[in-house]
Symmetry: C2
Subunit: 212 residues, 2 copies
């Protein structure tokens, strides 16, 4: 399986290409909140901690983000819109065939969970800390990502490309294995990024029963 190597550059805001990852370009308060939530959890972090990490006074921080909850929501919003935009771009670039779209969305999920590990970790651990009013919106983002994969796997199964008897379960299992990479991937580890992606693309294809 051929994997296009990732380019080094990253766009200043938004994304220039779904494979491009540099340092995350988060506003300073959100970068500070990410760091603090990843280390101590939402409930173990104070607004004072975040202000100190961001080199801001507490009133200065409140000027932009009126509460700790608004920092969490701002962070999750940027995380999910980035993930969704990359997935959509990968799928669009793949053209109309389910197999190519599947490879595209799997590769995009993998790259995101390799290069945005901390954001993925906070997103998965702090659902408990989201205010009720925002929870549905956040779950909606996650559902949109899952439905993108579901639609492709169901289309591939209908076309006879994927032979799994359980396309929806396979879609969730594939998503889970891509997301799980965030818990152990190490950019300096033995397995290079492109080799990891190549192997996981193969495993994902096996899981949906692609016999290509």
């Amino acid at each position: 399986m051929t994997v296009t190597p990732s380019s080094a550059g990253a766009g200043p805001s938004g994304i220039t290409g779904w494979r491009d990852y540099g340092e995350p370009r988060l506003p300073a308060p959100l970068a500070a909140a990410l760091e603090a939530f990843a280390e101590h959890g939402y409930h173990g972090t104070s607004v004072r901690d975040i202000a100190a990490r961001a080199n801001l006074s507490v009133p200065g921080l409140y000027h932009h983000y009126p509460s700790k909850q608004s920092l969490l929501q701002g962070l999750l919003d940027l995380t999910m819109t980035d993930l969704l935009a990359r997935s959509e771009q990968a799928i669009a670039e793949a053209g109309p065939e389910p197999v190519a779209q599947f490879d595209g969305v799997v590769e995009s999920l993998l790259r995101f969970h390799m290069y945005r590990k901390e954001q993925a970790f906070v997103g998965s651990t702090e659902i408990r800390s989201i205010d009720d009013r925002y929870r549905d919106e956040y779950i909606g983002y996650r559902d949109r990502q899952q439905y993108m994969v579901d639609d492709i796997v169901l289309a591939g199964a209908a076309a006879g490309d994927f032979t799994t008897r359980y396309p929806k379960d396979a879609s969730r299992a594939v998503t889970t294995m891509c997301v799980g990479v965030s818990t152990w991937y190490n950019a300096d580890g033995e397995l290079g990024a492109d080799e990891l992606i190549s192997r996981y693309l193969q495993l994902a294809r096996d899981t949906v029963g692609y016999q290509g």
Copy 2:
């Protein structure tokens, strides 16, 4: 694929059967710590919170667990020894064939992550909160579980039962998809436990390339 229904009873301490799950039988302080850590995270929880949930005075709690860290370690110890004992029992019961052992360990991983969701969640989110002196021991537990699956998949690949080109990666991907069930499984959901297990056994077999 045939799935043996789980029995209702659960042993008073230790396990009577690897498929048996009742309410977790944790000492009251650890049950209280589990509840608090799952809701607010380790850093967001005080020993006072845990004592109150356990109906104990703070000195009474300290008598058995001299620190919040000892509560976390006690909880993780019981969680991991229970998981490992069940996996070992499932594998032993399966006999010598890699395919049967694979089905056994996958089913055991699934059941644990369906019926011990909160413990699995705290285990995966609070690695950051473990003291350095205990971290190696905890990682050792997790490695032992992963190596059990690795050994089976490698043996099955060597025997020609599993055709995946990447047995070690497939083993980790299968483990990840079983662990991931803890993030969404709902005992009252549309998919019954035995149907879920049956589907995931098939997906796990597909991931390692079992052509049986």
